[in-house]
């Protein structure tokens, strides 16, 4: 076990990661303003989604433009639990969620059963995206759909799901989605302690996800995945059923995305079909591109930078955001093919030289 940990990172790197994790976890206790706690919790969830994205794109070379769907499905699973936990407290005092009363439904649809249990909802937030990804991936990869064609199909998939969820008849609240949540596991959602707990759980989930991803990419399976990315046919001639590998990593990634969505919803208090919009999935790809594909930590960093930039810019110049996002993508694609992490690696010799020069006169005196 210890040697496996050492294969994953050097002791120094593990130390740095542990330090960063502790710092993040301690933020609310050391002066992060109360109103920003859910905001930062959201960032942590995006970090998880970015890791999931980097796993399939950076390492296995599968560019998904539909990961927002898996994120939203995880979110909806959790939202359904939160919705059912306030049964009888809605405007209509009905056991059904308000939007169903509004549609004049008398009983809960079958697919809402079980979601009164938190455990069931939590499991479903992983299983639903996982099963969808498995089935979709199985057929797509077996038919050898790859590259840009695969990306387009995933984009179409998430768009189709958006349209489906917009329908009131689908039974997920139409374009309003699920909202007006009040408590999770009996704890009021607006209570600062609950918010901090959710933040902490998200931080632990992010660390756990990082650990899982790092474990995967440093295993032999990880090396097979990169081999599939670089020369798929060759891996098949080496005896690897590349389809199985792709389905595996694709499904794992979708489940991690579902986890991110499930943690995201109680912190923002709403889930609606706009989370599935194609643009959201594309934004996830941009996080990873900006941070650096195939670096894991870079992907998290990229997500935080882009989302942070978005929060700031949409407040300052609301109309400029999409242009800025597009420009960012173009710049990164043209000049930083390996993202910010790649830029760091490129600048390193220069930085070392500057440091060495600064030291020399100091030594001379």
């Amino acid at each position: 076990m210890l040697t496996r940990l050492r294969e994953m990172h050097s002791p120094l790197a593990w130390g740095l990661i542990a330090g960063a994790a502790l710092l993040i976890a301690a933020l609310p206790a050391i002066g992060l303003p109360e109103y920003l706690v859910p905001q930062f919790g959201k960032f942590l969830c995006f970090g998880i989604a970015a890791l999931a994205m980097d796993l399939v794109w950076g390492y296995a070379g599968i560019l998904s433009l539909g990961h927002g769907l898996f994120f939203a499905l995880g979110g909806y699973s959790m939202g359904m639990y939160l919705m059912r936990s306030i049964a009888g407290e809605g405007v209509y005092r009905s056991a059904l969620p308000d939007f169903m009363v509004f549609l004049d439904w008398k009983t809960l649809p079958w697919y809402w059963s079980g979601f009164q249990s938190f455990g069931f909802a939590a499991v479903m937030s992983l299983v639903v995206p996982g099963v969808l990804a498995f089935v979709f991936g199985w057929f797509a990869f077996r038919s050898r759909i790859r590259g840009v064609y695969f990306s387009i199909v995933t984009q179409a998939l998430t768009y189709a799901a958006t349209l489906l969820f917009f329908q009131n008849a689908t039974g997920f609240g139409g374009n309003n989605g699920l909202t007006d949540f009040k408590r999770i596991l009996g704890a009021p959602l607006h209570d600062p302690t609950t918010r901090r707990t959710l933040y902490l759980v998200s931080a632990i989930a992010l660390l756990g996800t990082y650990f899982v991803c790092r474990f995967v990419v440093t295993s032999r399976l990880g090396r097979v995945l990169t081999a599939v990315r670089d020369a798929e046919l060759k891996t098949r001639f080496c005896g690897y059923e590349s389809t199985h590998y792709k389905v595996f990593v694709w499904t794992l990634s979708a489940m991690l995305c579902g986890l991110a969505g499930a943690l995201y919803v109680p912190q923002v208090g709403i889930i609606n079909p706009s989370e599935m919009q194609p643009s959201n999935s594309i934004e996830m790809a941009i996080w990873v591109a900006v941070g650096g594909r195939g670096t894991l930590l870079g992907a998290v960093l990229g997500a935080w930078l882009v989302v942070g930039g978005k929060s700031w810019l949409t407040a300052a110049i609301p109309s400029a955001w999409l242009y800025a996002l597009g420009a960012l993508f173009v710049i990164v694609t043209l000049f930083l093919p390996r993202g910010l992490v790649g830029l760091g690696a490129k600048l390193r010799p220069a930085v070392d030289m500057v440091i060495a020069r600064l030291r020399r006169p100091a030594k001379a005196t």
Partner: protein
């Protein structure tokens, strides 16, 4: 076979099957005549064929890339496959390794049950057919060491690769291979940074790691210096016997240096087949290929 099932085969289909079968004791049946020496039918019991190709045809949009190719490989032989461009050499390799499906015919490994034309690429690799591509194909992003590791024979399922670690035996095997192909000092270098000849070597090393029964080697010396070529010839010769090797090569000097038996393909057919000297003397071969 039971003694009662000895209905003699009939040549004419119209003749009704006799209702009363004649019982002949096994001992009374004459021995089947031994196959003639030049028989092309595989007889696994007598001649240990490892791989045989039967009446293989492949066409692409009406163009017959392979047109009824029949070919047998004996265990441990080193066979050279030559022929002008478009003769169907690479297509034949593609069919054997499962990349291309034939229109008719079959490819069998060891037993008649192993029809490779019905199996996936990775299943064929697992059964023991390794292939080196025409253009050197290595995993660019991986180190030389990792390239060999990935090619190693062993369990290649998702779960076993997720949890299995390198065993000491595997490490030794990789070191041995690196020594054979002369890339020990480059073990930690990314394969993408190797020189062209070194990539060719690495690919042969990866084939060795796979430890296949049959090695298909497409143009192993393309772009190599003369010295490198000699080392390659030496290596291939030393591997024959333990493995069955098929080499596709354009360089006639190289073919002459390694070939025991040569098969000439032309326009999707086997034009000639035999020892190098005999094939070289064949006027048809001279006309289409060597005479150029």
């Amino acid at each position: 076979m039971s003694a009662t099932a000895a209905t003699p085969p009939t040549m004419e289909d119209e003749r009704p099957t006799p209702i009363v079968s004649i019982v002949i004791p096994d001992s009374a049946l004459p021995d089947s005549p031994p196959p003639a020496d030049d028989s092309t039918l595989p007889d696994v019991g007598r001649r240990p064929y490892v791989l045989w190709v039967e009446d293989l045809s492949v066409s692409f949009d009406g163009f017959k890339a392979l047109n009824g190719v029949t070919l047998e490989l004996e265990t441990g032989e080193l066979r050279c496959l030559i022929g002008p461009n478009g003769a169907g050499k690479t297509t034949l390799m593609d069919v054997i390794t499962g990349k291309t499906r034939p229109d008719t015919g079959g490819v069998f490994l060891d037993r008649r049950e192993n029809d490779l034309t019905k199996l996936s690429e990775c299943r064929i690799a697992e059964l023991g057919v390794g292939r080196k591509f025409q253009r050197p194909t290595v995993f660019q992003g991986h180190t030389v060491y990792e390239n060999c590791e990935l090619a190693l024979r062993g369990r290649k399922g998702v779960w076993s690769t997720l949890f299995r670690r390198r065993t000491p035996a595997e490490r030794d095997r990789i070191q041995d291979i690196l020594k054979i192909i002369g890339l020990s000092e480059h073990a930690a270098r990314p394969a993408g940074l190797l020189a062209h000849g070194q990539k060719q070597w690495l690919e042969i090393g990866m084939l060795l790691a796979q430890d296949p029964k049959v090695l298909l080697v497409d143009e192993p010396v393309a772009g190599m210096t003369h010295a490198e070529m000699e080392r390659t010839a030496e290596l291939l010769r030393s591997l024959a016997g333990k493995h069955t090797i098929v080499v596709v090569e354009h360089d006639m000097e190289f073919v002459r240096s390694i070939a025991r038996r040569v098969t000439v393909l032309h326009e999707g057919r086997v034009l000639a087949d035999g020892p190098m000297a005999e094939v070289q003397a064949d006027p048809r071969v001279v006309e289409v290929y060597l005479g150029e």
